[in-house]
Assembly symmetry: C2
Amino acid sequence: MECILCALNPRLAAGHCAWANLIMAGGKADNSKSKANTKGKEKEVKKETKLGLSVKKDDNFGEWYSEVVVNGEMIEYYDISGCYILRPWTMSIWEVMQAFFDAEIKKMNIKNCYFPLFVSPGVLQREKDHIEGFAPEVAWVTKSGNSDLDVPIAIRPTSETVMYPYYSKWIRGHRDLPLKLNQWCNVVRWEFSNPTPFIRSREFLWQEGHTAFASRTEADAEVLEILELYRRVYEEFLAVPVIKGQKSELEKFAGGLYTTSVEAFIPNSGRGIQGATSHCLGQNFAKMFEINFEDDKGEKAMVWQNSWAYSTRTIGVMVMVHGDDKGLVLPPKVAALQIIVIPVPYKDANMQGILDTCAATVRAVRRDNFAKADIAIDGLVEKVKELMDDIQQSLFDTAKLKRDACVVVAKNWGEFAEALGQKKLILAPWCDEEEVEKDVKARTKGDMGAAKSLCSPFDQPALPEDTLCFASGKPAKKWTYWGRSY
Amino acid sequence: MECILCALNPRLAAGHCAWANLIMAGGKADNSKSKANTKGKEKEVKKETKLGLSVKKDDNFGEWYSEVVVNGEMIEYYDISGCYILRPWTMSIWEVMQAFFDAEIKKMNIKNCYFPLFVSPGVLQREKDHIEGFAPEVAWVTKSGNSDLDVPIAIRPTSETVMYPYYSKWIRGHRDLPLKLNQWCNVVRWEFSNPTPFIRSREFLWQEGHTAFASRTEADAEVLEILELYRRVYEEFLAVPVIKGQKSELEKFAGGLYTTSVEAFIPNSGRGIQGATSHCLGQNFAKMFEINFEDDKGEKAMVWQNSWAYSTRTIGVMVMVHGDDKGLVLPPKVAALQIIVIPVPYKDANMQGILDTCAATVRAVRRDNFAKADIAIDGLVEKVKELMDDIQQSLFDTAKLKRDACVVVAKNWGEFAEALGQKKLILAPWCDEEEVEKDVKARTKGDMGAAKSLCSPFDQPALPEDTLCFASGKPAKKWTYWGRSY
């Protein structure tokens, strides 16, 4: 169906109709004059304002993505490379997810706080592995006005080192535990590799949770509880299927004990993408920052810590998964605009009559599959609600079918290399040795980027005893997903 | 009434009871043994943990304020001067105000967005008066990792120059207007004058609204609509009385046309404080950033712009106004914890009996005036709700009485100087000349800081025709509030 709104208002983004999950037309929707008029105008509009998409998703995915987020008015490119303007459509999606997640963590008795944007160098460098992971990306403030600062000050790339000196101060006895804080904030990672809106940007918005417990059991349990919330953000809100699992030693969070994640996959680019991470930090930071407490037996003990985060990257994943050649497709649960009601005027028509009719006859066109249906006015609200639920579910089902169709099981190097060449999401038996992963990276280096482990899924297929690692030929310890990634 | 919670848990901040507006005790509240025991323990606790306040509000206001915000666990001092950690109690107050304000501006069809933290120098410097106002406080990023950036990048002190190049891009015709955006974010002003938690910090949280209209009439109307929301934040939520008015030419926003504000006053320090500002920017930024549009007659025109903001400073004003020698006093509307129910145990008591009684007998103690009342269990909920409304109103009334008692009308320099010496909020007839304000500043310079104009209240007392300016002796044009300020 041609969109009359585009024709009526040339300044509307062509992508705007993506924002509505259901377009309900009242009046003579099939009138040929009207259609012809609209078509003609729309072409004119596209030519004049360049708001249509000039490439197809399957032809040039990168260019398509960039056009969708810009023409759909989610993103505006900014005059500093790697920084992007998040426009109102983006913020409304972010706010829906934020409302859900914030309420859920409040139920878990996690409280919001706000720590400073700035970190002093001494504190930043206290945990060696951690700073090695982040140092190359840290932005430094060295001047204010015309004066040089005595000591350069870093901008947080993440807040472990910002927060934990104060955890050390606040935690004295077991009654101070657990300490469970979260903040919604911006962070800065001055990366030089390909910036991509939402997916890889120098500044982004996120929440970061930082918790401390008396026992590892409690920390372990929370890691999974948070990971489940991340799954729900992706699957229930963004309708994007994800795999829950554990990262390899090489891919885990710098300075942490182990990292769990939800991993998504983009069929068009053949790349995995880390959707959100929930880390158990163990006692490593506790040791470096001296976060000790007197336990209930009066003995000195060290806390167990977690940190976990999801960012505006979620929105990019959603666009990549659901968007089509007409632009954005948004799941109803995060769409600011769920329904557009369009009175369809045509030449010589009685406009008032049409407007009146809008309240009695309704033709609905779904944004996801463009199916049309005439809905009687009786029970309209109920029917539309059902349609919304159906669109949400069917977006997820379709995305899952496409994702699953990309999964290939590779049992040896030959199968692995072939599947990688076909941009697949590869499930392979692995010996779980760090040197072997490094070797896989080295052997797959190239223009497209090396392959790496994405995660070892919690949901493990059977692994017969004599199964060998696809890469080393040693006995396999687990099934692991591999592929190129963002 | 002594607080048993402090005695039961030595790690609770002494200020904690400030967080509850009403303490409801069940059991034998007046039992003398219990009181004695509790008193003894509380003293011990204070000595041990240093959580009590060591100074009185009237004796050393600055020290008192610092102790209240730290011991009340709203703020933790940070290892970078002028930066503070906002702890959960603070964030819960901020979130209450945010929920109110965000919903109100959404009703006005203002949409949220997020622009980058960073500004390139060329853009930052485009509006001359504006950058002159902010340049000395701008923090500059010059390095990432170990590499120098090609061009230093500024951190936003406010976002006019960040946003308006894109307003220029997005606004073409009158149908694109009004453009009304808001963002919730952090900003950085690297000030060197006395940092004070909430009141003057190098990084703070705020909302900043930026709107563009086709006509001045629309812009003028919005300035006042937003200012009214700021008044409500202060008066209805924080129970702090404010004066609405217009800033002088000397005190208006750098680069703007005129600035309106809500002004609060802190009786203890004798200083006014700018509570929030709503600026009409006129067409000055539109000219510098070329924000033009084709009006409905097809003629080229320039937009009229506003910007407006309130920050976490609001919370500091509230603490200063309501706090007492026992610590924080929070208006019920922003208190995370409104009621604490305390079973009061005593020696040889049947603990279970007391707990049972808590559900039947209730003695209430208000945090604001410590008034005690026994409330029957019948209608308890209703009665408590009434009490909360009464506390909210009476905090405002008390604050207003105290503020009003500080107002002095000064008709000549002698009266003005005397009132200033007494740390009053001075209402004086003024000729409204910039040179005269500069002269007042010069003549009142000293250890305490110079006096300046705070605002010309919209609510103007009668000004007889022959009234002369208190400072210049020229004919007075208006009544203006003067004083020292934060």
